[in-house]
């Protein structure tokens, strides 16, 4: 039997500590996705991007308007991935500033249709809806194909007695597993098609002129 082509999975973690809770959650998610892909005989190439290592490059990109070569390499990895896992700590009721900076400088159209899993960590479960009111709209704007289950892990999810005899940790395991299964399925559903590169396939000028006279909408609208 012919081996199925490998899938690339890129994990973006905005955790600040080393190790960070966000990275721990990211690893649980990527291991679970990897397991689901292997179950059907698909190899996963996993690359983890720790945004703390790019903090200076991201600031520089905002100021200069272009990424440094090393930041460019990490942006390219995300743009080229078949699947994406993003994890951020929740600060002041939303994703962290560092996390947002990365998605501020990435090509706006580059995530369109990309299977993505959103996840966050925080000190208390009271911030768990940040997944749905902050992260999900951001990735909806970027047109990413975000899977239904987002994973939020609070301090109490990492072990502890839990309620009614069910360990808190096992509920996190369940959510991680469900989200990973959804992402693996989306990644297997078909290769993600990269958006058209205007430099690779330029639109003929006559066509651009026709748009001009027809609709009043520019090519950059």
């Amino acid at each position: 039997m012919k081996a199925l082509p490998a899938r690339s999975l890129v994990v973006v973690s905005a955790g600040l500590g080393q190790p960070s809770t966000s990275r721990l959650l990211a690893d649980r998610l990527s291991v679970a996705v990897d397991r689901y892909l292997r179950d059907v005989g698909v190899e996963a190439d996993i690359e983890v991007i720790e945004l703390r290592e790019y903090a200076q490059d991201l600031t520089n990109n905002l100021l200069t308007g272009f990424p440094s070569p090393r930041l460019q390499a990490s942006l390219d990895a995300v743009l080229g991935a078949d699947g994406l896992i993003v994890v951020t700590p929740i600060f002041s009721a939303s994703f962290s500033g560092l996390f947002k900076m990365f998605f501020d400088v990435i090509d706006r159209d580059g995530l369109a249709g990309k299977p993505s899993l959103i996840a966050a960590t925080g000190g208390s479960t009271r911030h768990s809806l940040a997944i749905d009111y902050a992260l999900r709209p951001l990735f909806a704007y970027l047109n990413a194909a975000v899977v239904a289950t987002g994973v939020y892990a609070a301090a109490e999810d990492w072990g502890g007695a839990g309620v009614a005899g069910v360990a808190a940790d096992s509920r996190l395991v369940e959510r991680v597993d469900r989200a990973a299964r959804e992402l693996a399925a989306a990644m297997l559903a078909g290769p993600h098609r990269a958006p058209a590169d205007p430099f690779e396939a330029p639109v003929p000028f006559e066509e651009l002129l026709r748009w001009n006279s027809a609709s009043g909408r520019g090519a950059d609208d």
């Binding site: 100021l63 200069t64 000028f205 651009l208 001009n212 006279s213 009043g216 520019g218 090519a219 950059d220």
Partner: protein
């Protein structure tokens, strides 16, 4: 008019303006930036070539039987450059008309410059104006020089660190590595500038940004002297020696076009 006063030694460079707040000064909207550039140039292109123009567009009132005066000197329209930092649509426009393409080549990494120019060259050939390496390319470049490169770096660094367009981000060294900015000796400026042709191919025009980062006027004038005395003559010689036969050494400006026409007429007479 300027073309008449200057005896034809005029070329025209067009840029769109890149900030939203600028467009309303002219009653326009930046969301129409590209369509506006297309329409305005399509009209200008005709006005420079046709004595009487009937025209209708979207962004201005129609023209009926309109003649723009004075007519181009000796019937030769000024050579036009389309300047663009990051809009492939403008490179496409330059290629379509067979005009020149100017890339500012400052503030951006060379990979970007390379993509923009490569697109223009490829499309220039596509539209039948000649081979890609005959397309007319201009580049910018930012420089600061002193006889010794250490002195140049030492003197320029405080300006770099505090200039709104440069400061607060990468170090001067990182910035020089990641963009075409060259701070150093005249020889370093020469070497770096010659390396541009390895990135974009043989090109026809080099503009230097010398008045930047808040340098005092006296310093800027010294920079112009050094460019004129130590850098440009060497670059002219070196570029000339490196340029393959057939690749134009400059844009077809008015005096060249006239000379070429005269030569053709003379040949016809002889034949």
């Amino acid at each position: 008019m300027l073309q008449h006063l200057a005896g034809g030694r005029v070329d025209l460079m067009m840029g769109r303006g890149n900030m939203g707040p600028v467009y309303p000064w002219f009653g326009q909207d930046i969301r129409n930036g590209i369509p506006l550039a297309y329409e305005n140039y399509a009209l200008l292109h005709r006005l420079l070539r046709e004595d009487v123009v009937d025209w209708q567009g979207k962004f201005r009132t129609p023209l009926t039987g309109f003649t723009s005066t004075p007519r181009p000197l000796d019937g030769v329209p000024p050579f036009v450059w389309h300047g663009s930092i990051r809009s492939p649509e403008i490179a496409e426009q330059a290629a379509y008309y067979g005009d020149g393409f100017f890339h500012n080549n400052i503030f951006w990494p060379k990979e970007h410059v390379q993509r923009m120019v490569a697109l223009y060259r490829q499309r220039f050939e596509h539209y039948g104006h000649g081979p890609a390496d005959h397309a007319i390319v201009g580049l910018g470049g930012h420089v600061f020089m002193r006889a010794n490169s250490q002195d140049a770096i030492r003197e320029f660094r405080p300006y770099f660190d505090h200039a709104p367009v440069y400061g607060g981000g990468p170090s001067l060294e990182e910035y020089m590595e990641q963009t075409p900015m060259t701070i150093g000796s005249p020889q370093e400026v020469i070497d770096r500038t010659l390396s541009f042709r390895e990135i974009v191919g043989d090109y026809q025009r080099q503009l230097f940004l010398a008045d930047h980062a808040g340098l005092p006027l006296k310093t800027v004038l010294e920079q112009l002297d050094m460019l004129g005395e130590l850098v440009v003559p060497v670059l002219r010689k070196e570029f000339e020696a490196l340029r393959p036969a057939g690749v134009p050494d400059g844009p077809p400006l008015h005096p060249r076009v006239l000379a070429a026409e005269a030569a053709r007429a003379a040949e016809t007479v002889v034949a």
